[in-house]
Subunit: 370 residues, 2 copies
């Protein structure tokens, strides 16, 4: 069962407490204390076709206290869990995972041993705790640096108490905050007809200057390339709560396609995050090989595919979530064409072309790759 | 003469016109058309100690039309200048320098030659035009992707007409827009006592959650590491217009020190930008070697200096703007200490320590490196 409703800090703290209680129970029963942890390796990741999401399977590994290879990690896992419980109960501000590491790292009394030698040791344990208590990192008061901005007809009540109107955020747009949960970033109103996710800031910025979001009555968001956690989670909430179409607009190259798939199906590395951050109903709007002829894209916009592009293309072709007929056709067409095209290059047609021609045509005709 | 007041598009377009007129005059006089361009190489960059800024000298190079090595570049320079003039006169939206490249790149009629083969050809010519007409790239309607966010008691009238109150921007803070000129981002009110610039988002975010800017009555801004153009230009305007102290808070390592110097004195690569984006009155607040003892920083926060750190330290020690007694002492102390310390690590003392102890003490006692 995956919770997607906002979970209170107290609920999660109680689950962390239960985790500790189990360890104590093991000790009292004179059993070797252990924790069962979902395996986050590739052999436990699969693509759930019905859900349209990359998911974590149910393989588990036991971590034991009385085990020479696992004793330190066992202790460290409990330290991480304890610290998170403390953050929640004390209602402390949210920390970065580096800051959490610094709060945990210290010499163990009576020894020269440190609790943690480097952040490489604490980061995977945070993920272990996330899956053990089925909570998002942000719900554990741990945040990543967001990158995105957005604009359009949406009003949000922020956890600070500020009411944010994304039609009034100026030329910068509104910044995506690090935590975008129902109880930190509550969507109060939204009259947008769809969400347009744009790979690059420069293209987002052009559309924002042209008030495209006003003309098209939509939200425009960019994650500035590969999105951070917050932009993915926010898009997921938009799909779920706003129930409006999502269109993703990237470069016509393997990296652009992949960015789309991260928004839509999630990623292998963060498979346990995909169910809470994927937006399986997202549509790939473009740029695509069929646009070249349809919009008479000038040759000056073509960029020859290099070895590195072909290599990446081969990699993404192999992903189960890129095996639909539409995508097979797209990959074949790209290889035959031999070029890639960036979304920025549409200005070669005219500076107004993206907003006035390209996007309205593609959206009206529902020309998506599926 | 350096203009620091807002320049209108018409003013700059007129200067671009004058540039073209000179070329025409050369042709009419049957002279080899030429343009004199300030040299932007290291041999024309110097540190102006009185101004406290890295500046471009007055060495110029002529670029000729009738010169086998320069003819194409001459033509390309005029294309860039012409396109910028067109953007200004048509009041087009601002473009990224990649988008500008795409609007310029095309096959030359009657030949197989392209105007530009890659963006590497147009980027330096944009800088040439910037210095020729003494205008900022942003004034030429060309923008870079901003990264920063800020919060605190300041109200700004954005070019969109939106009035932005940076005390009401929620947990994300207000995003820094790509253009922060007097006529695009007009500071209307500010009651802050100082500006605190913070290297890392995680530290900024902690202070924002703790409403440090409210308690200390200041503005807090982060450029998320090495700042983009917009954050530097905005800080420059804050120094000039708000006339309040600026404190820069970074990691205690050569990279942190360097970020401070980019805000303060500018950078070698963008020496022609330093006069318009430097903030020579900025103070280095920390983290510094003397803080270790003063604030009893736990050993767990120390990170051993590696070869790469010593190498970078040696490089920045050689810069003229790091040769003050204060910095000499700091570098010597760091080498003797043998460790670096990150600003994030102050949470090891307590999560409240940065806001409640460290910053107030340093600011009240004016403990800056100078």
């Amino acid at each position: 069962m995956v919770k997607t409703e906002a979970q209170s800090g107290a609920e999660i703290a109680a689950r962390l407490q239960a985790l500790g209680n189990e360890v104590i129970a093991d000790i009292e029963l004179k059993k070797n204390p252990s924790m069962a942890i979902l395996t986050r390796a590739l052999n436990n990741v699969y693509f759930d076709e019905d859900a349209g999401l990359i998911k974590l399977g149910d393989k588990k590994q036991n971590r034991y206290y009385i085990n020479l290879n696992q004793a330190k990690k066992f202790m460290q896992t409990l330290l991480v869990a304890k610290q998170i419980k403390w953050l929640l109960e004390q209602q402390k501000p949210a920390l970065s995972i580096r800051q959490l590491y610094y709060t945990l790292k210290h010499s163990i009394e009576g020894s020269k041993e440190e609790t943690f030698d480097s952040q490489d040791e604490s980061d995977p344990l945070i993920e272990d705790v996330e899956v053990m208590v089925d909570a998002l990192r942000e719900e554990l008061r741990l945040i990543a640096t967001p990158k995105g901005v957005l604009a359009g007809p949406m009003v949000v009540l922020d956890q600070t108490g500020d009411m944010l109107d994304f039609t009034k955020m100026g030329s910068a747009g509104g910044a995506v905050p690090p935590s975008v949960e129902e109880n930190t970033f509550e969507i109060k109103e939204c009259s947008a007809d769809f969400v347009l996710v744009i790979e690059k800031f420069a293209v987002w910025n052009l559309l924002n200057q042209q008030k495209y979001w006003k003309d098209a009555n939509c939200l425009i968001m960019t994650g500035k390339g590969q999105p951070a956690r917050a932009e993915r989670r926010l898009l997921h909430r938009m799909q779920k709560e706003l129930k409006i179409p999502i269109y993703v607009f990237t470069d016509m190259d393997p990296w652009g396609y992949y960015i789309y798939s991260v928004y839509k199906q999630g990623s292998i590395n963060l498979a346990f995050f995909s169910e809470k951050a994927g937006s399986p109903k997202a549509n790939y709007l473009g740029f695509s090989t069929s646009d070249i002829k349809q919009f008479d894209i000038p040759r000056s916009a073509y960029i020859k595919l290099k070895d590195v592009d072909y290599k990446r293309l081969k990699e993404i072709e192999a992903y189960d979530w890129f095996k639909s007929p539409g995508w097979k056709k797209e990959f074949a067409a790209m290889k035959q064409f031999g070029y890639k095209v960036e979304q920025d290059s549409l200005v070669a047609k005219s500076i107004e072309f993206t907003a006035k021609e390209y996007l309205p045509t593609k959206i009206e005709n529902k020309q998506f790759i599926a």
